[in-house]
Amino acid sequence: MSEYIKKSIWVFHLNTGSCNACDIEILDALTPYFDAERLGVKLVVSPRHADALLLTGPITYESLPKVIRAIEAVPRPRFILALGSCAVGGGIWHDTYSTIGGVPELLKILKNRGIEVDGVYYVPGCPIRPEALIYAVGILKGILQKKVKMRVRKAIA
């Protein structure tokens, strides 16, 4: 929840190598059936106008430099909505040769370069449901509560 962003959230859609399923569900959320625009969500044409990034995909090496540049362009406070299993933790590509493996790895790279992100919201699902995206927007605006608490368990080797 942000104390700065309470009203209309303008979003910029950043596909970092996703399969399009999440991307068409984002569009779906903006069309009549779900109509996220009633919550003030608007897809904008430049990251410079955006409050939050809708980041989909596992972040391929090829797209990484461009993703970093796009995140840098978002004015503070900047938020990332990591949409779909790929963005949340790399998904099925978490250890393949041409991806970095999701937003957690990206955050490390951003930290090394001194680029700050004010909040990350994880929306799992393969693909995400439009309802999940709307729920995430609700949390970001502070009108809904988070459903799960984060608990990190070590994977069994």
């Binding site: 399969c19 569900e25 569009l27 393949t96 041409s98």
Partner: protein, 551 residues
């Protein structure tokens, strides 16, 4: 086609190849003719198959067969749709230093797949310009991920330094847009070179979505898991990929799939086609500035999404395919509800279509723009609605029936004008045909199991499988291995269609470009490839987003 004529055709091929190389080995299995020729004869054989027998190149692929047979192999897959044949030409290459002759000057379509083999397997091609295609900038030159001695999870340090996408001499008019355009669904990049209002050249760069799917399928997964992986090649036409993969394995292992499973596959394939076409029609309306049309198309599409969820359990990425059958049955109750939904969608859709085509702007802007003449379409061997909009009567569902398509009766819409309107009308008609097909399939749904029991997948068998995706024909090639595919190669439809953009865009006004680019319904997560056209008389560079371009 009678058996005799097939034998006759086969004899023609074999005789022709024997006259070039008398010692050629061959094998005929399912619908595929496998031929082994030495690399010195590859160009002659290609010329014979491509030019004399009038086949077209489906794709080519390299394979690291050093652990098996001690060499690299290069496969060229040709298609003969008139006879429903695939011809696979295999060439052995040296295990230490694999070098192959190029066939790009004979078959221009081989450009990308040769460079892909070079990047991923280190096969060098003689007699052509070579460049980095698939792998990111900063990737070590001597590391080829598809080689069997390279682990799938090798990760050289990520390079956060991007290449300069624009060549320096034209970089003067740089607008900071990059490959990310907000309305663009995928990171890809078009450069249009314009003189005044007229487009003189076009350049496309992509490959931001290379995720290493083929390597993953060959190293970490097993046969059944790859179905789900294949579905994640593309979020829009994913079910086509997973069906095509399952069919390839079933063909290679000669598994008999129960009829009911085939029917269910076809039903879901058609549901996917309706959702994909409605998505595209909506986007096309948006690009024409008719946003009401966009919203209404997506409103109608939502019913199809709900139906898909009802039948398969998921709105997208259905996950019901397995090698040997499907995982979910359609019972009487579901059948009834599905027909109700289809009735409603059909009624809404017909109303919508009438309104859409009555809007003067839509008709005016789509007519006579982005023309792809029939001759060019044939030469470039375009597929799907792009081909059918240019008068080429090609549809895998009818020509090489798979799943349950030989039980249904449907029309293949073909329009001759080759403009954007023709491609729009092809898709519009296909939605109606798809609804018709689903009704017939639901009506005829046979009783029985939905999964083949007790089958084994033998090693070292190969098969080519085709399927008609919403965008054109999708091809999967598989070599079976121990518990998982030894080699798995995917060729998506957009791969064939992108070169046609050059013909469509050249000499056309800039304002028509977004619609024209979208008119092939490009899917970059499937294609993952680069197309670079030589720059000629580039005056000014203008970057455009292609709007709400669907995958």
């Amino acid at each position: 086609m009678t058996k005799k004529s097939l034998d006759h055709v086969l004899k023609e091929y074999i005789d022709g190849i024997k006259s070039i190389y008398p010692k050629a080995d061959y094998l005929f299995s399912n619908d595929t003719l496998f031929i082994v020729v030495p690399k010195e004869k590859l160009r002659d054989v290609t010329e014979f198959i491509h030019n004399k027998m009038d086949c077209y190149l489906r794709t080519c692929l390299g394979s690291d067969e050093r652990p098996l047979l001690g060499h690299f192999a290069l496969y060229h897959i040709f298609g003969d749709d008139r006879n429903g044949l695939n011809i696979v030409v295999k060439t052995y290459l040296d295990p230490k230093k694999p070098v192959a002759p190029t066939i790009m000057d004979i078959v221009p379509a081989a450009d990308w797949c040769e460079m892909e083999a070079r990047d991923l397997l280190g096969i060098e091609f003689e007699g052509r310009k070579q460049y980095r295609l698939v792998l990111p900038v900063g990737w070590p030159d001597n590391l080829h991920p598809l080689r069997k001695d390279v682990p799938y999870n090798i990760r050289p340090r990520p390079s956060a330094v991007g290449e300069r996408i624009t060549p320096p001499k034209t970089a003067t008019a740089t607008i900071p847009v990059g490959p990310y355009h907000p309305a663009l669904h995928e990171p890809e990049y078009f450069e249009l070179y314009v003189e005044g209002e007229t487009v003189v050249d076009v350049k496309y760069r992509g490959f931001h979505v290379h995720r290493g799917i083929e390597k993953l399928g060959e190293s970490r997964m097993n046969y059944q898991q790859v179905n789900f992986l294949a579905e994640r090649i593309c979020g829009i036409c994913g079910f086509v990929h997973s069906t095509c993969y399952a069919q390839a394995v079933e063909k290679a292992a000669k598994i008999d799939v129960p009829e009911r499973a085939k029917f269910i596959r076809s039903i879901v394939l058609e549901i996917e086609r309706i959702h994909s076409h409605l998505l595209w029609i909506g986007v096309a309306a948006h690009l024409l500035g008719y946003d009401t049309g966009f919203m209404h198309a997506w409103r109608i599409r939502e019913h199809i999404m709900v139906l898909a969820e009802f039948l398969t359990g998921s709105r997208k990425t259905y996950g019901i395919n397995l090698v040997g059958g499907v995982r979910r049955d359609i019972n009487e109750d579901k059948k009834k509800q599905a027909i109700e939904v289809l009735d409603k969608v059909e009624k809404d859709y017909m109303e919508y279509l009438k309104a859409l085509l009555a809007v003067p702007e839509v008709k005016k802007r789509a007519t006579e723009t982005g023309i792809l003449p029939k001759e060019d379409a044939r030469k470039l061997s375009v597929v799907g609605p792009t081909a059918r909009g240019s008068g080429l009567d090609r549809d895998v569902r009818r020509d090489v029936p798979y799943a349950a398509y030989n039980y249904v009766d449907f029309n293949v819409p073909v329009y001759d004008s080759g403009d954007n309107l023709a491609r729009l009308l092809v898709r519009a008609d296909e939605v109606i045909e798809s609804i018709k097909i689903i009704r017939q399939l639901l009506d005829q749904l046979p009783k029985g199991p939905i999964m083949a029991e007790d089958f084994e997948i033998p090693e070292n068998r190969a098969a080519v499988s085709l399927a008609e995706a919403p965008r054109g024909e999708d091809i999967h090639y598989i070599i079976t291995g121990d518990g998982r595919p030894y080699r798995w190669k995917v060729r998506a439809p957009t791969y064939q269609n992108i070169p046609a953009l050059k013909v469509m865009l050249k000499g056309a006004p800039l304002a028509d470009a977004p619609l024209t680019i979208a008119s092939i319904d490009p899917c970059f997560s499937c294609t993952d490839r680069i197309y670079v056209i030589n720059e000629t008389s580039a005056r000014k560079i203008v970057r455009i987003g292609i709007g709400l371009c669907p995958g």
